[in-house]
Amino acid sequence: MIRLSTIERVFLVGDEEVHALRGVNLGINAGEYLSIMGPSGSGKSSLLNILGLLDRPNSGRYELDGRDVTGLGDDELARVRREKIGFVFQFFHLVPRLTAEQNIELPMVLAGIDPAERRQRLNKLLAEYGLEDRARHRPDQLSGGQCQRVAIARAMSMQPRIILADEPTGNLDRNTGQEVMALLEKLHADGGTLVVVTHDNELGSRAKRRIRIVDGQIVGDDSGT
């Protein structure tokens, strides 16, 4: 389903080249649950951004569902993103002036889904994530855990088959973090592909397949239990 081959990502900082990813090869099958771990600055986020089509590699090839997406234009990428991929971020990235439900609705609004259908999905999501009585609250009136639940609901609103989460628990206390992980894992249980970047060994080891990345290179790919 996902096939990365010899991906290079190089940033230019002044005159210096920073190699965030060096020759990364990675295949992910539909319905897999991966964790990506590694020291800070090792290229985890860079990898996730490329997987999520937010960023383009300098070289290498990316196939998604059998289609080469390396050379797609911006608008085409946006469309693929909207339909296939859901993001969950460390800092939630909710729009502060919108209510919880408006934030959740946003991807559907962008996709041009009609309001009646939106409402229906919204109600389902609010119930699923226990946010019914918070629907009209703005992010600054919500706790971190609630914010992340809103963000997950938002990621799920377009019913994507791939969920990419970059340190989704990085800003939450342990218990809340566990709750959020449980929510994400439920998506996996429903057949979705889940990729989680984390610093936390314990959380990381919950994944069936654990990728270890150091200095832009994959140094470990452990599918054992």
Binding site: L54, D75, A78, F87, Q102
Partner: protein, 402 residues
């Protein structure tokens, strides 16, 4: 993304950042209002001047003997021989034209007016009953010269206010016999004070029937004919007809001059219109300033909302949609500002109208269209850059905390 959703999204932003919105509306409003008010002043001045002239009768044509090459120039400039005079029958013939409503022939001279022991040298105007309508004059007392055959010399006269006061003082003037030269005229009316107009002061006039004046001054030729056209738009037709009718009566010779009020008015009109346009244009500069403010505010907004833009892209917004969102926001602000400006401008114009009720202040239609349109167009053009900047933002960088 659906249009309604784009609108709604932009509207949320506009509503959410109150002080920013208020600032823009204010700047935009002031700009539009300035144009509306300033152009109202100009338009008011224009109408005021036109009305003043219009009270003379914009439908008026003045026919005088002798041909002048430049219509409206110095009258009586004679080419070749002495011109044939215009007679009362020439004047009567003018009523054949369908564009002529009425006319008043004029003979002017001076005479010695006497009543009892008092006497005074006065300008004497010989004319017909229609004169009062042609000139839109009012009577203070009695009635004007009687209707009837203009060849008939009835011994009656109408006096101006000044004459009345100087000759009769506190006594009743109506019915008294006034002696002018060797003839006697019974006073049948007193003109209301009119002031200066068309070169002479009617307050010091004595008016007598045309035939009487002809006898008094021993002449057949008319000084002028005042012709009233059936409407302002009929004036050119009336002019053609007058020239044509007199020409045939004068054996094919074009030996008269016709002056129209309109030619003079048109010049004034042009000047004042240009002036209004100029000051309106100057006021419109403030619209440019308001447009630049919108651009700045939008640019700030884009950098403040980097994360939001990054997020929108991450969840599937295309560059075009991001651009559209910011663009719509600017357009909403511009529209709001324009509407507000029109309201404020209208209020301001009404306020000034209260202060100077004599002058008909009202914004010209072009200002009501051009001011908001300029506001909207400048802000649309100027918000292209911020919107594009938002659209070009790299989502990864926008989302990172760096």
């Amino acid at each position: 993304m659906r249009f309604a959703d784009i609108l709604n999204f932009a509207w949320q932003v506009v509503r959410g950042s109150r002080s920013r919105t208020a600032l823009i509306l204010l700047a935009m409003g002031i700009g539009v209002a300035a144009v509306v008010i300033v152009s109202s002043l100009g338009e008011g001045a224009r109408r005021y001047v036109l009305d003043q002239f219009g009270s003379l009768g914009t439908n008026l044509l003045i026919v005088l003997p002798g041909r002048s090459e430049t219509a409206g120039g110095a009258p009586g400039f004679i080419v070749g021989k002495t011109p044939r005079s215009i007679t009362i029958d020439d004047a009567i013939a003018l009523t054949r034209s369908h564009s002529v409503k009425r006319f008043a022939p004029l003979i002017i001279g001076t005479g010695d007016a006497r009543w009892n022991s008092k006497n005074r040298e006065v300008p004497v105007l010989g004319t017909t009953a229609d004169y009062i309508q042609v000139r839109h004059m009012e009577m203070a007392q009695g009635h004007f010269l009687p209707e009837g055959d203009p060849h008939h010399a009835e011994p009656v006269c109408v006096v101006g206010m000044l004459v009345r006061r100087e000759l009769f003082g506190a006594q009743e003037a109506l019915g008294e016999w006034l002696r002018i030269g060797d003839r006697r005229f019974r006073v049948v009316g007193v003109l209301a004070p009119q002031g200066q107009s068309l070169g002479f002061n009617t307050d010091e006039l004595v008016m007598v029937p045309l035939a009487s004046a002809q006898a008094l001054f021993n002449t057949d030729s008319l000084f002028r004919i005042l012709v009233e056209a059936k409407g302002r738009e009929r004036v050119p037709d009336a002019r053609e007809d007058v020239l044509e009718i007199i020409k045939t009566r004068h054996e094919g010779e074009r030996d008269i001059t016709v002056i129209t009020q309109d030619a003079v008015l048109a010049t004034f009109d042009r000047i004042l219109r240009a002036l209004t346009l100029a000051v309106g244009g100057i006021a419109a500069i403030s619209l440019g300033v308001a447009g630049i403010l919108i651009m700045n505010v939008m640019l700030i907004s884009v950098s403040q909302r980097r994360k939001e833009i990054g997020l929108l892209k991450a969840i599937g917004a295309t560059s075009g949609e991001v651009k559209m969102i910011f663009f719509t926001e600017a357009v909403i602000l511009a529209l709001g500002g324009a509407v507000m400006g029109l309201l404020v401008g209208k209020l301001g114009q009404m306020a000034i109208g209260q202060l100077y009720p004599a002058i008909p202040f009202s914004p010209p239609w072009w200002a009501l269209i051009a001011a908001p349109l300029t506001a909207i167009i400048t802000s649309i053009l100027l918000s292209v850059a911020p919107a594009r900047r938002a659209a070009q933002l790299d989502p990864v960088q926008a989302l990172s905390r760096r």
